[in-house]
Amino acid sequence: MEIILLLLPLAILLALFFIGVFIWSTLRGQYDDLNTPQYRMLIDDKDCSKKGIDP
């Protein structure tokens, strides 16, 4: 059972890490538009740079 003493802090650190990531991405505007990205990702990005226009 002593292993809990190691696992518990690890679990908490993991939880805190993900909470931190969530807060960071929210504040950076990751979730500002929840509707468009789901469609945007369906489009193949052939023209990566401004110059490369497909024929």
């Binding site: 939880a15 909470i19 969530f22 979730y31 469609y39 489009i43």
Partner: protein
């Protein structure tokens, strides 16, 4: 039969693109779609059609065909200053609402604008709102950008862009998401430790787990739950008891007790149930808010920007005109109004003679002729010919502006109802407080003061009306979502409750029961003319803007008429038209058709009833008392009343008197479309604006319908009744669970474990009850 390559509309006689595809394998329904196709190919965006092919259509809305417009008023410096902003890098930030955004390919195309026009640096589309956020080089003319969108088939409407407002809104939304996310993280971590505690962790482990539970609960109970405390406090300040009061009470008590137990070494707390509750409540409220926002948004954008551009005389010669935004008109300006345009301000006709359609402003179905020197009003439509106007009043001074002011006042005067949740909450909190007091007194005779107090507090915690608070937003979310999917937008959940109580329905005539424009009801051919009648009508009336002429053309078009050689076409305004077609003299005047001056046919016109009006009225009559409320003349209103079977009619009503009649009747529902209905819409217990309504009425109403006809209204009434049935059922269910908790507390069987079973179970029950709905609700709109 072909399908248009661009918009997929089926066409009989297609137009073909000969430049890009000489084999003529790409049919188009109209020149507009063809132009868009050619532009896309020339600019190297032909891939649009491949994307479109493979992507599902998001909305049932055909793209708008691009009519060439110039959008010069967008280059006005005053306009630019007010509607756009320069960002820190010196780029102009513009937000444009685009009509006709409907699929994935639109998204692809719009976001590739920077490739099409190098001076556009950034283009980002919010597909839900149909709003594109652009960053442009400041020297790029906004009118050119607007024309670009217009040529692609998306009609642009520039909306006010404010960085501050956007930031505020973003901040608020991010905060909401953070609250939900933190509640979710806290609740799920607590669950791990709570299960260990329930499973029998002892001694040191129990202490550690308990401490961790409290630590994870602190952000949830403070930061995430902050909104509940705030709203409970506000409602207490206003001397009402909202559902948040018992919730906040339970949360605070639970928090205090958990902390107290931590310090006294008792490994018992209710945080597992309470944090899960906070998370679920936040989530259900978030969904309800999202769906209401969607209803408000469509109203804000879709219909509000129609009459933006006005032709204003630059000098006194009245020869040169400049396009300006209608907002910047001033009295004494001289403007030109083209046929079919809406008149943007109250004014006097300086030149020209026309007919105006006043039905939206007054409810009158008859056309009004206006001559030199006559006054015309903002919000009416110029029909037959071009006129020059001297502006007398603008904005709030106009008749339309006066109505707008009354509408704004109407909202505050609207009868307020006590929400069913509020009523329940009031009794609920009284009963719970009384019960805990009783419990405290009873226990005091056997137990210590601390133990009795703990029991009493436990009662407050476990009777938290979580299922109730959860069920109601979810039920409304589901109903509002169902309605909006079918083109009925409900602005607030209170509207559903009010709809259920409706007893009297007031219906506007022009434009609501009827189409609001005249149509040919019968055409009697007395003597067969030499040319087909449809050809005669088309060739005579093709140029005319007169409403009767438009009605005749609509009638003739169904018979597939042909263009023929026409000479000496002469239209006398207010009289009729005459011409020689293939050498034969024809004339249409006074609802009669002549060939070589011999009467060959007569016809009748009427503002026809919508096809579904009659059946609907018959069905509604069984449960509601119906009234016809119109600004039109007595005979017409009474005749329409007889046709549809409504005996109670009010005619020649002004906007103000309409509103008075509606407010004097209790449980009133007003259905209308025009500005003349707007005050009544805003003051009735509930107002519904139908398809094709004026912007003002949409603003005034609680509900608006974007599909034509009155059919959706019947469904809406059923929806409201069924929704309230589910709400009552959910209240009954959750009160049952609460009673169980009370019994458990009184009999001394309550532990955090019992609460951890009862609370989720009750939430689950109401969730299932909401999702199942009722039989009628499931079959609605099928």
């Amino acid at each position: 039969m072909h399908a248009c390559t661009h918009c997929h509309e089926s066409v009989e006689r297609a137009v073909y693109d000969e430049i890009i595809d000489p084999n003529l394998s790409t049919p188009f329904c109209c020149q507009g779609c063809l132009t868009v196709y050619q532009i896309l190919h020339q600019k190297g965006f032909g891939e649009y059609y491949q994307i479109k092919e493979s992507a599902g259509v998001l909305r049932k809305r055909a793209p708008v065909s691009g009519q060439p417009e110039r959008f010069q008023f967008l280059d006005d410096q005053i306009f630019l200053d007010e509607y756009t902003e320069l960002d820190t890098e010196g780029l102009r930030v513009v937000e444009i609402y685009l009509e006709g955004i409907h699929c994935l390919a639109c998204l692809w195309l719009i976001e590739r604008m920077p490739l099409m026009e190098p001076q556009i640096f950034n283009s980002k589309l919010d597909i839900e709102r149909s709003v594109v956020l652009l960053k442009l080089a400041p020297q790029l003319k906004l009118s050119e950008v607007a024309s670009l969108f217009n040529n692609l088939g998306y009609k642009p409407h520039v909306i006010k862009s404010s960085e501050d407002q956007r930031r505020l809104k973003n901040q608020e939304e991010r905060r909401e998401l953070l609250r939900i996310g933190i509640a979710a993280a806290g609740a799920s971590n607590i669950m791990i430790y709570a299960v260990s505690l329930y499973a029998g962790a002892s001694d040191l482990y129990a202490q550690v787990f308990n401490t961790l539970t409290v630590l994870f609960a602190i952000p949830v109970m403070t930061y995430s739950a902050w909104g509940f405390y705030q709203s409970a406090w506000n409602s207490l300040k206003n001397k009402v008891i909202s559902i948040d009061v018992p919730i906040a009470l339970a949360l605070i008590m639970g928090f205090l007790m958990g902390c107290y137990n931590l310090f006294t070494g008792v490994t018992e707390n209710y945080f597992d149930s309470l944090t899960a509750l906070v998370f679920l409540l936040l989530l259900s409220r978030y969904f309800l808010k999202k769906i209401q926002e969607r209803s408000l948004r469509v109203q804000d954008l879709d219909f509000f920007h129609h009459h933006e551009s006005v032709l204003k005389a630059v000098d006194s010669s009245l020869e040169n005109f400049q396009e300006v935004h209608a907002k910047y008109l001033k009295p004494q300006d001289i403007i030109k109004v083209k046929p079919q345009q809406f008149i943007p301000a109250d004014g006097i006709i300086l030149k020209g003679r026309t007919h105006t359609n006043n039905s939206l402003l007054t409810g009158e179905s008859r056309l009004v002729s206006a001559d030199h020197g006559d006054e015309v009003f903002s919000g009416t439509q110029n029909l037959s010919s071009e006129i020059l106007l001297k502006v007398l009043k603008v904005g709030g001074e106009t008749r339309l502006g006066e109505i707008l002011k009354s509408v704004a006042g109407g909202w505050s005067q609207k009868s307020q109802i006590l929400h069913v949740t509020q009523t329940v909450s009031q009794y609920f909190i009284l009963v719970v407080l009384a019960l805990s007091l009783i419990l405290f007194v009873i226990n005091l005779q056997e137990l210590s003061l601390a133990a009795s107090l703990e029991r009493a507090l436990t009662l407050l915690i476990v009777t938290c009306p979580c299922a109730l608070a959860l069920a109601i937003p979810l039920t409304f979310t589901r109903s509002l979502g169902l309605a909006s999917k079918n083109g009925v937008f409900i602005k607030s959940d209170a509207a559903i409750e009010k709809l259920m109580k409706v007893k009297n329905i007031f219906i506007d005539k022009t434009g609501t029961l009827t189409f609001g424009r005249i149509q040919i009801t019968e055409l009697n051919i007395l003597k067969e003319p030499l040319l087909p009648m449809a050809d005669v009508i088309l060739n005579l009336e093709n140029q005319s803007q007169h409403p009767v002429a438009r009605a005749l053309i609509d009638y003739a078009k169904a018979l597939k008429p042909q263009i023929r050689r026409t000479e000496e076409l002469l239209e006398t305004i207010g009289q009729g038209v005459s011409a020689k077609i293939e050498g034969i003299k024809y004339e249409i005047k006074n609802y009669q058709v002549f060939e070589h001056d011999i009467l060959v046919a007569t016809f009748k016109v009427k503002d026809l009833l919508r096809p579904d009006s009659f059946d609907l009225i018959q069905r509604l009559k069984r449960n509601y008392s119906l009234h016809l409320l119109s600004g039109d003349q007595k005979e017409i209103v009474e005749k329409t009343g007889q046709e549809v079977g409504i005996s109670s009619t009010f005619s020649q009503q002004s906007p103000e008197s309409k509103s008075r009649i509606v407010t004097e009747t209790s449980h009133s529902l007003m259905i209308g479309d025009g500005a003349n209905d707007a005050i009544a819409l805003s003051r009735a217990d509930i107002g519904i604006a139908v398809h094709g309504s004026m912007a003002l009425s949409l603003k005034a109403a609680d509900v608006y319908v974007v599909t034509p006809g009155l059919g959706p209204i019947e469904n809406l009434l059923i929806l409201s009744q069924e929704t309230m049935r589910i709400i009552y059922r959910n209240i009954a269910l959750s009160l049952t669970y609460n009673s169980l908790s009370v019994i458990a507390v009184f009999s001394g069987h309550i532990t955090p474990l019992v609460a951890a079973v009862i609370m989720p179970l009750s939430s689950l029950t109401v969730l299932v009850s909401t999702l199942i709905g009722t039989k009628q609700l499931r079959s609605l709109w099928k």
